[in-house]
Subunit: 179 residues, 2 copies
Amino acid sequence: MIYAHGVERTSLDDVMAASGVSKSQLYHYFADKDALVLEVIARQTERVLGAQRPHLDALDSLSALKAWRDGFVRLNKAAQCGGCPLGSLASELANDSEPARKRLADGFSMWRDRLENGLSRMKERGELGASADPHDLALALLSAVEGGLLLSKTTQSSRPLEIAIDMAIDHVARNVNAP
Amino acid sequence: MIYAHGVERTSLDDVMAASGVSKSQLYHYFADKDALVLEVIARQTERVLGAQRPHLDALDSLSALKAWRDGFVRLNKAAQCGGCPLGSLASELANDSEPARKRLADGFSMWRDRLENGLSRMKERGELGASADPHDLALALLSAVEGGLLLSKTTQSSRPLEIAIDMAIDHVARNVNAP
DNA sequence: CTTCAATTGGACTTATTGGTCCATTATGCA
DNA sequence: TGCATAATGGACCAATAAGTCCAATTGAAG
């Protein structure tokens, strides 16, 4: 619910109704709404990374990147509500809650790490040129994904996402050594 | 205020206090809060496009694109609060207000049009290859900008924005004919 | 100056919010 | 079985939200 409608549009009464849990339980397990939101961030980080398996941990070739792209786009098409859980929370909270901002930055960082790991393996194997920077390439990949997701959510079309990820994969491909 | 903290975190009392205007004036000029928000979207669209002048309407060469990039990054560094006014509103409202979503999609579309116009001129002049698609290139550029802005806002660093736009400009450069 | 409509101030209403409280119920342990 | 502690339900509270209302004020036209 927080993913779909945002923190501020999701009241604790909504959470109670949807979960069949009373307010005292909520306040027994969470200090306040902010604490619950922080937990939601952790949860969504896991969800986002988990949903990209098994691709995400094996992105060490161009074909693997393309398969990841296809899975990602398919997932986005199937989703009932658009956008990225982390991205939406980041957009809403980054300016207003420093603890939330930090956790979201960590979430993005973990995501980038996974991408970077695969690219680093490509570099070690010599598939990626010596001048290629896995860290920056991963960051560019992630930016493309987030921007694509936001535009796709707004235009209600998967095209922006597809085009953005394709661009990012092309960008990686530029650094691939000729076989 | 709506740009920095979101629609839901900005109360009409806040607006009254900041503008020195009474509630009856607010409701005299706007049917309700939603109507005001719709007007804010229109206003922010103008602001975003206006802030990119004079570059935005002359992006018809690689060097112009790079100058635009530099101006954009400088603007973002100087801004007190990160992110994109359109992107933030889109993230918050796309799922919950169809009129708002439409206007935001229009705003993005206008932005893409400006980018596309420059690329089309490059293509007409033969600077861009025949196979290049100005529409898709512009969409990729915009996705990179939005994703970069979101990650920069979250990580409080301008690096993601720089890397993302550089990637997108490289992507355009791939379609440039050798001189 | 008078008049009448448009504009304005701000008190007010109602609904909803996050959060508190305490009596009641369940649970684990001797 | 009995006791102490933890977990639970739901009434309750104060603050804040959007939105309403009407009396007071302004301004232009005759």
